[in-house]
């Protein structure tokens, strides 16, 4: 089955599906029982963040201890990524990486090592001096823009509707990046993202309009993840009234800017189809605390049994090669673990996990990708 995506001027953009078809050798190695390296790592260089988004999963990702990530730690980490064959790294996870001193050196070293690098940010501390240094090295940047209207944005992402200066700062910096991309003809995809909670239905159209006004490549509307105990209180049944407006927003797409909804995740909600959780073996997450755990949904102290190590205390290479790394991964793939009840909803490797589960069940075998690869194919 062909991977689902949106055709853009720069290639096929896949935001609501997986890209395992383009890493068939590693899929085969996994099926043959080999200890494979992840294709992609999602991580943060800090747990800190200047925003206070109402939908932020990082509120539920506090581990036992935070380690301060020094530049040397970050550079060693990315050297280890290259050595074991990881192909891409995204700075998203549980903190605002642009605040870290390691941010610029990390991106430059990752690119030198042959990895594709990407970043999600609120862009508040992402002024021209940083953008100039990192944008030429990045494959994609996704800006968290909770709403298209300044007051709503400030209410959702900061202290209240009167604090619209954070919106102004973000828009100024995003606009600068859009202009720089155009001026230097950079091969980077720029997008904005709204995390839709059922109460934000009125923000859908203004958000789409902002995407068009900014001239970014896409504006994506996605679900909100929640933990297994529903700490954020997301009612997944309450998304349905927003469906018509989301479709209307998608119809606003133009030649330059695509408005995209992550329908698969929105419709899946907290109804996880898989019992076993294979995705982390292909798409690993690392916390801004330095913690290595299979996935962000396990960062909280609550899931300590799945904590593998901390790369500020030992080399990632040694963590990856350790028996404890594979013990945690194999636990998630065993009948001791039920992904439907023992972890938060819609983890980062959801698409990959659904695909792998359907693959091993024989419901829908993953086939080798043919033809031109989609954009960002090294980011699963």
């Amino acid at each position: 089955m062909e991977v689902k995506g949106i055709d853009t001027n720069e290639g096929k953009l896949v935001l609501d599906d997986h890209k395992l078809s383009y890493h068939y050798d590693r899929l085969e190695a996994w099926e043959n029982g080999e200890r494979i390296a992840p294709i992609s790592v999602d991580m943060s260089l800090t747990r800190a963040c200047g925003a206070m988004c109402s939908f932020c999963y990082a509120m539920m990702q506090e581990s036992q201890a935070r380690s301060s990530i020094k530049i040397d730690h970050a550079l060693q980490l990315v050297d280890d990524f290259a050595e074991i064959g990881i192909k891409s790294v995204s700075l998203v996870s549980d903190g605002e990486s642009t605040l870290s001193k390691a941010y610029i050196p990390f991106i430059i070293r990752a690119k030198e090592n042959g990895l594709d690098v990407a970043n999600a940010t609120n862009a508040w501390e992402w002024g021209p001096e940083k953008v100039d240094q990192v944008l030429p090295h990045l494959t994609w940047v996704r800006f968290t823009v909770a709403a298209g209207r300044p007051e709503s944005y400030a209410k959702i992402m900061y202290k209240g509707p009167e604090y619209t200066d954070v919106f102004d700062k973000a828009i100024k910096n995003i606009s600068y990046a859009v202009a720089l991309k155009k001026r230097l003809n950079l091969n980077v995809t720029l997008g904005i993202q709204m995390v839709l909670t059922p109460d934000l239905i009125d923000e859908i159209i203004p958000f789409a309009q902002l995407g068009l006004d900014l001239g970014v490549d896409y504006a994506v509307i996605k679900h909100c993840s929640d933990d297994e105990d529903g700490s954020l209180g997301i009612d997944y049944e309450a998304y349905e009234p927003s469906f018509d407006l989301i479709k209307k927003a998608e119809s606003m797409s133009n030649d330059k800017t695509k408005i995209i909804a992550k329908w698969n995740k929105i419709l899946d909600g907290n109804k996880t189809s898989y019992k076993r959780f294979y995705g982390p073996q292909f798409l690993l997450q690392i916390s801004g605390s330095g913690l290595v755990a299979p996935q962000g949904v396990f960062f909280n102290a609550k899931h300590s049994k799945l904590h593998i190590g901390n790369y500020t205390e030992e080399r990632f290479l040694d963590i990856f090669k350790s028996e404890r790394y594979w013990r945690a991964m194999n636990y998630l793939a065993s009948s001791d673990f039920d992904a439907r009840t023992m972890m938060g909803s819609l983890p980062i490797s959801h698409y990959v996990s659904v695909a792998l589960d359907n693959h091993v069940k024989g419901i829908n075998r993953i086939e080798q990708g043919k033809g031109k690869k989609p954009l960002h194919h090294n980011f699963l």
């Binding site: 996994w30 099926e31 043959n32 029982g33 747990r47 800190a48 963040c49 200047g50 925003a51 206070m52 988004c53 932020c56 990082a58 509120m59 539920m60 990702q61 506090e62 581990s63 036992q64 201890a65 935070r66 202290k159 933990d227 105990d229 529903g230 700490s231 954020l232 898989y274 019992k275 076993r276 330095g290 913690l291 290595v292 909280n300 102290a301 609550k302 899931h303 300590s304 049994k305 799945l306 904590h307 593998i308 190590g309 901390n310 205390e313 030992e314 963590i319 404890r324 013990r327 945690a328 636990y331 793939a333 009948s335 001791d336 039920d338 009840t341 023992m342 589960d357 091993v360 069940k361």
Partner: protein, 112 residues
């Protein structure tokens, strides 16, 4: 060697014999097991019907050893006490001072 996948098997649930016990008796059994097996960093503080055993860590365990330590404990718990039991640790709230203003409390899955 081809990997063996197990996508269909249901995760074991606590047996009837376990479920009919009172919670205080279940806790007592597990805490006795902890003492007998010298898991002196652990204390069972709650048990859910699903088989979740909520554990308090009484001392800091480094990231490099806490996973193995707790998985070993869970494995023995399943083998000796009941196959439907699984371990969770007392959750930790967000330390980020700004985000804390949101007032989100991590649901602990038990009554304090």
């Amino acid at each position: 060697m081809k990997k063996i996948f197990d996508p269909f098997t249901d995760t074991p649930k606590p047996t009837h014999e376990w479920r009919v016990k009172e919670k205080k008796d279940q806790l007592n059994i597990i805490n006795m097991f902890i003492i007998d097996n010298k898991y002196d960093s652990l204390e069972a503080i709650d048990i859910k019907e699903s088989g979740e055993v909520l554990i308090r860590l009484n001392k800091y365990l480094p990231a490099s050893s806490r996973g193995d330590y707790l998985l070993n404990f869970e494995k023995e718990l399943k083998k000796i006490i009941n196959p439907g039991l699984y371990v969770m640790i007392e959750p930790m709230g967000d330390k980020n001072s700004l985000r804390k203003f949101r007032g989100i409390q991590i649901n602990k899955g038990y009554e304090e």
